[in-house]
């Protein structure tokens, strides 16, 4: 691996961003941008272009039966994936779809049980998360055999951690855990205790300041 000069790195960035560079060039560029913020910003903006090009490709319907084949392939793999993950779930808050992956492990063996088209197993309720400044994100509650909650939070640009609590029908507060916020953005999901009827959800700073809240309409 070479230590590239910036000019060489910048010449190679377009091909790296498009996925067209050789493995060696790619490795050199990625090593350089680890240390060089200027080239890193350039590569990121070019990667946005490369990624954007994929969005211009028009959709095309796959052959009949595709959806079922995808779901059954994943169902077959699902039961064996990450067996240890679920055990940690209850004691440790999870970020973004990590919780979601954990839910997969928890549901091992039960993944997509039955015909996907006929399973009336769950219902989702989406509510807005609001702050004093306005909309601050979304709360999605999914009821059913394995109820879970996901939250997306976006306020300002600060980084740090927040705590998330929900209130059940009896007014009891249930702490879901502490979650990271990066540049004002955070997203997490996790299972709810069976039978919890969620009336509201809060995002609170570690020192107790409420950042955003949501009144759940579907309780």
């Amino acid at each position: 691996m070479h230590d590239l000069p910036c000019a060489t790195c910048r010449d190679l960035c377009p091909e790296v961003a498009l996925g067209a560079a050789s493995a060696e060039d790619r490795a050199d560029v990625l090593a350089h941008v680890e240390r060089c913020a200027g080239c890193a910003a350039l590569l990121r903006s070019m990667t946005d272009v490369g990624d954007g090009l994929a969005a211009l490709v028009p959709p095309m319907e796959p052959p009949p039966g595709f959806e079922g084949r995808v779901l059954s392939a994943i169902r077959e793999r699902g039961g064996r994936a990450r067996p240890a993950f679920g055990q940690r779930l209850r004691s440790r808050p999870l970020t973004v779809a990590a919780a979601v992956a954990a839910a997969v492990a928890l549901a091992a063996g039960g993944w997509l049980v039955g015909e996907t088209t006929s399973a009336p197993s769950s219902a989702a309720v989406t509510s807005a998360l609001v702050s004093r400044q306005g909309t601050a994100g979304t709360v999605v509650l999914v009821s059913g055999v394995r109820p879970w909650i996901s939250m997306t939070f976006h306020v300002g640009s600060a980084s740090g951690s927040v705590e998330c609590e929900v209130q059940d029908a009896s007014g009891r507060l249930v702490a879901l855990g502490t979650f990271p916020i990066v540049h004002g953005y955070g997203s997490w999901a996790g299972p709810l205790p069976q039978g919890t009827t969620v009336r509201g959800a809060w995002v609170v700073t570690p020192d107790g300041r409420m950042l955003a809240w949501s009144a759940i309409s579907g309780g």
Binding site: S45, M60, V125, T138, S187, A189
Partner: protein, 196 residues
């Protein structure tokens, strides 16, 4: 909990992704239904053979399921993320075979003339700004530059392969790719100030 609220089909993409990764049967089916034509479209444009394209599309969903935690909404929509995964897998699939000449004209026409086609109106509204801007910028490029960047960025050709496909010297291929990239980049960034 009463089953009120939006239909599964009306949930935000992020919730569909979360449900898909969590193994919720209804949300998973809705997720695949929503994005399968996007994913298959990308795969089919890169991989000439329909059977391989379907394999690539299926692998795209498996990868999305395994790596749902790496999805970052600030980088783009769920559809765009899946499109990128499909592109990368399709390029890998093409790389292990002998390179067949790529019809850059047809590829470019598909990308600039057709409407990138979101399946739901509100999705189209969400994506419209950056996608429309990029499409307009691509249209304004000289044809040879547009062909070069699409061959590299969508068909997955290396600069060497772009040169062979276009019957031009390697240096010329690199210059076309780089010039096109710089123009598209400034097109994207002048119209839309950075926002998450």
């Amino acid at each position: 909990m009463r089953r009120i609220g939006p239909r599964v089909e009306d949930l935000p993409d992020e919730a569909l992704l979360a449900g898909f990764a969590a193994g919720d049967p209804e949300l998973a089916a809705a997720f695949v239904r929503t994005f399968q034509s996007k994913v298959y479209g990308v795969a089919r444009r890169i991989v000439a053979d329909a059977g391989t394209a379907e394999d690539v599309a299926q692998s795209t969903f498996e990868r999305a399921w395994r790596h749902a935690r790496t999805y970052d909404p600030r980088r783009g929509s769920v559809g765009a993320w899946l499109g990128i995964i499909a592109r990368n897998l399709a390029i890998d699939a093409v790389r292990v075979r002998p390179v067949v000449p790529v019809d850059a004209t047809a590829l470019l026409r598909a990308m600039t003339e057709e409407d990138g086609g979101a399946s739901r109106p509100e999705r189209a509204a969400l994506e419209a700004e950056s996608v429309t801007t990029l499409r307009a910028a691509l249209r304004q490029l000289p044809t040879e530059q547009a062909r070069a960047i699409v061959l590299a960025g969508i068909a997955g050709l290396s600069a060497n392969q772009v040169a062979a496909n276009e019957r031009i010297p390697l240096g010329t291929a690199k210059t076309r790719i780089r010039t096109a990239m710089l123009k598209l980049r400034s097109g994207l960034h002048q119209d839309g100030p950075d926002h998450a």
